[in-house]
């Protein structure tokens, strides 16, 4: 058991970090929308499998892309890639572009990989990078902005929320790497095929182009978009459990990985020996599922 990144992975992450920091600084021209797709291709990021790398490495790239607030469709690319375990774009496989600056689009016919652990893990990896960037910027601000003659980070009213956020980010990082490893294992094993694919569905759109020079607002939009994309809490928590079942150390149940919410809830129950809930669909929207115990 070794839950640390190996030297190659660390090097990849660092190289990606440096490259992205150079190409996508915060003071960039936010209107320009140059996603440097060609350069990504040259770097080999679009076909990591050809370099003998797997989803863990892709997740690391996604994390760094999120950190750089990268404007291109890499997430959609990673989520939609063909894979040995049967995740393909059916039909003609075209992805039509809905926005020339953010070509994510929808799939014409066939099915998408939207409902897969790969997609959710990829979203989470990207969101992790965004969260880390937000934390870093917050910490930087707390160190440099002064009030009453001191940096505001001196005050616990500022430093404690940042510390709590740090634990959020670190705990998320653990879940992301774990999920990434599970997906990579599954794909390497080449299993998971033969599942009933989900119905055709539009791929979620990337967030709209950010307003010029407003990284803070951009991050907020990003967060909102990620929340929407993930769907409501109950559904998402069910998904994570799907990923969990790929963990060879855990109690294993074969699940309908691609299926929508109701079977996911049942799967969650199976995994922990609960009786399935009544077939009431999970309620949606803000405030409809308050946390118990708060």
């Amino acid at each position: 058991m070794d839950f640390t990144l190996n030297d190659d992975q660390l090097e990849l992450k660092q190289a990606a970090h440096t490259w992205l920091a150079d190409r996508f600084p915060l003071d960039r021209d936010w209107e320009a929308q140059d996603d440097r797709w060609g350069e990504l291709e040259e770097l080999g990021w679009l076909e990591v499998a050809e370099a003998g790398l797997g989803f863990v490495e892709e997740a690391l790239l996604l994390e760094e892309l999120g950190y750089a607030l990268y404007p291109g469709p890499y997430l959609a690319h990673v989520s939609g890639q063909r894979h040995a375990h049967g995740l393909t774009f059916g039909g003609d496989g075209d992805i039509s572009t809905v926005d020339p600056t953010r070509p994510v689009g929808s799939v014409e016919g066939g099915w998408t990989s939207y409902e897969t652990p790969r997609f959710h893990a990829a979203c989470a990896a990207e969101a992790l990078g965004v969260a880390q960037r937000a934390l870093d910027l917050g910490v930087e601000h707390a160190k440099t902005r002064t009030q009453f003659g001191k940096p505001i980070g001196t005050y616990q009213a500022v430093s404690h929320p940042l510390a709590q956020t740090y634990t959020d980010v670190e705990l998320s990082r653990s879940l992301v790497y774990w999920a990434a490893w599970c997906v990579a294992e599954e794909e390497q094993a080449g299993s998971g095929g033969g599942q009933t694919p989900p119905p055709p569905r539009e791929l979620p759109a990337h967030p709209p182009p950010p307003p010029a020079g407003r990284p803070r607002r951009l991050r907020r939009r990003w967060a909102r978009w990620t929340r929407r994309r993930r769907g409501q809490g109950v559904r998402h928590r069910g998904r994570r459990r799907c990923v969990r079942t790929l963990d060879p150390g855990a109690r294993r149940h074969r699940l309908h990985l691609g299926a929508p919410a109701a079977p996911v809830l049942q799967a969650r129950d199976l995994a922990r020996g609960l009786r399935p809930a009544s077939r009431r669909p999970p309620s949606r929207g803000r405030g409809s599922a308050p946390r118990v115990g708060e």
Partner: protein
């Protein structure tokens, strides 16, 4: 990243499972913890068995009675013990705090004298750090140790000392030089709890039990050879203790939480309410996050041998998770939650102290802010 057991780990795990099956009677599983567990003589017997099988001090050097196993084995041990709902080794403070500190700072004589009886549960340790006016601010400790010839004469009071009522020795932080600058004024002593002048008074807790205590020292003579490291170096030694407390704690805590969640699912009667189901799923996810964060910290620990400050984050989030989980369990049980045998009642009441003991949540946030995020000191 590879979460599979290596062949060595897999073998260790299966041997351990078989050993637990053979050595832990069913009726001794699933105890509720707290002070009550020390009333059962089986606990010492169980601790001795753990030692004889090499599971106590698993990662300690062989020359001090340990097994010299890698840290990942320790994680497996915690996981398997929790899965079997096994009681802990009786020497909790000794194993996680006193022992590692003595290994790091002790003389050969001290290591030879204290480590083996600690592992074998022949001698129990307690911790004398907090004082009525110096808890989180340890450098302000006022328990005085005055050098007189070959002894230190100790006077003062310690508080919130778990297991002091059954302890044979105490790791004691004392003020040895009131004129020395802060952090250079402390001396770390190993004190015989049976020495004349030591008095232990139990503190009744919300659970109704007295798991921790006040300790009073009145002209207690401590031989100079019981000093750990140099005079005035007590702060550094104490920091070693606290780092180890939090580092090795992570897996134990996560394993305990895993056990609690398992029991909650067993007891919950399959709630239909989506809010409750979501709350259970949320706690399960938090548990996995804590678990894998501990695994990541383990990697650092294995490389450097020194636990990183990441342990502070795990302790912080665990204490909050444990409080939520025990509260949720009570809610799931409805009125029965209060009227049943008191198992969950005890767990919930006991969990209230989690955000205070072993570093309050506020102190842990300070540590994260200053040592990890690099923010300026608040004091």
């Amino acid at each position: 990243v590879d979460l599979r057991d290596t062949p060595e780990e897999a073998q260790f795990r299966s041997e351990l499972r078989a050993w637990i099956e053979a050595n832990l009677p069913d009726e001794k599983r699933g105890g509720r913890g707290g002070a009550q567990r020390f009333e059962d003589p089986f606990l010492r017997e169980w601790s001795r068995r753990l030692y004889e099988a090499g599971y106590a001090g698993l990662t300690w050097p062989k020359e001090y009675g340990g097994t010299g196993a890698p840290y990942s084995f320790q994680a497996i041990l915690y996981e398997e013990l929790a899965a079997a709902q096994a009681p802990p080794h009786v020497g909790v403070i000794g194993l996680s705090m006193a022992g590692p500190t003595i290994i790091a700072h002790g003389t050969e004589e001290q290591k030879a004298r204290y480590l083996q009886p600690l592992l074998a549960a022949e001698e129990i340790w307690c911790q004398g750090f907090s004082e009525p006016d110096a808890g989180s601010d340890l450098a302000a400790a006022r328990t005085r140790a005055e050098r007189r010839g070959d002894v230190y004469v100790v006077n003062g009071q310690k508080v919130w000392s778990s297991f002091a009522h059954i302890a044979d020795f105490c790791i004691l932080v004392t003020q040895s030089d009131p004129d020395a600058p802060r952090y250079r004024n402390l001396t770390y002593l190993l004190v015989d709890m049976h020495a004349p002048g030591v008095e232990v008074r139990p503190l009744r807790q919300i659970t109704g039990e007295a798991e921790f205590n006040e300790i009073f020292f009145a002209d207690v003579e401590v031989p100079v050879e019981n000093r750990l490291d140099d005079e005035g170096n007590g702060w550094q030694v104490a920091m070693t203790t606290l780092l180890h407390e939090r580092a090795t704690l992570g897996f134990a805590l996560t394993a305990t939480l895993d056990g609690l969640l398992g029991r909650l699912l067993q007891d919950s009667g399959s709630p239909e309410d989506p809010r409750l189901r979501e709350a259970i799923a949320a706690e399960w996810i938090e548990l996995q996050a804590l678990r894998y964060t501990s695994y990541r910290a383990l990697g650092t620990y294995e490389r450097t041998g020194i636990p990183g400050p990441e342990g502070s984050g795990v302790k912080l989030r665990w204490s909050e998770a444990n409080q939520r989980l025990t509260k949720l369990a009570r809610e799931l049980r409805g009125p029965e939650g209060i009227l049943d045998d008191g198992w969950w009642n005890h767990q919930q009441l006991r969990s209230r102290g989690n955000t205070i003991e072993a570093g309050t949540s506020e102190v842990l946030r300070n540590i994260i802010a200053e040592r990890i995020l690099g923010l300026p000191r608040s004091r």
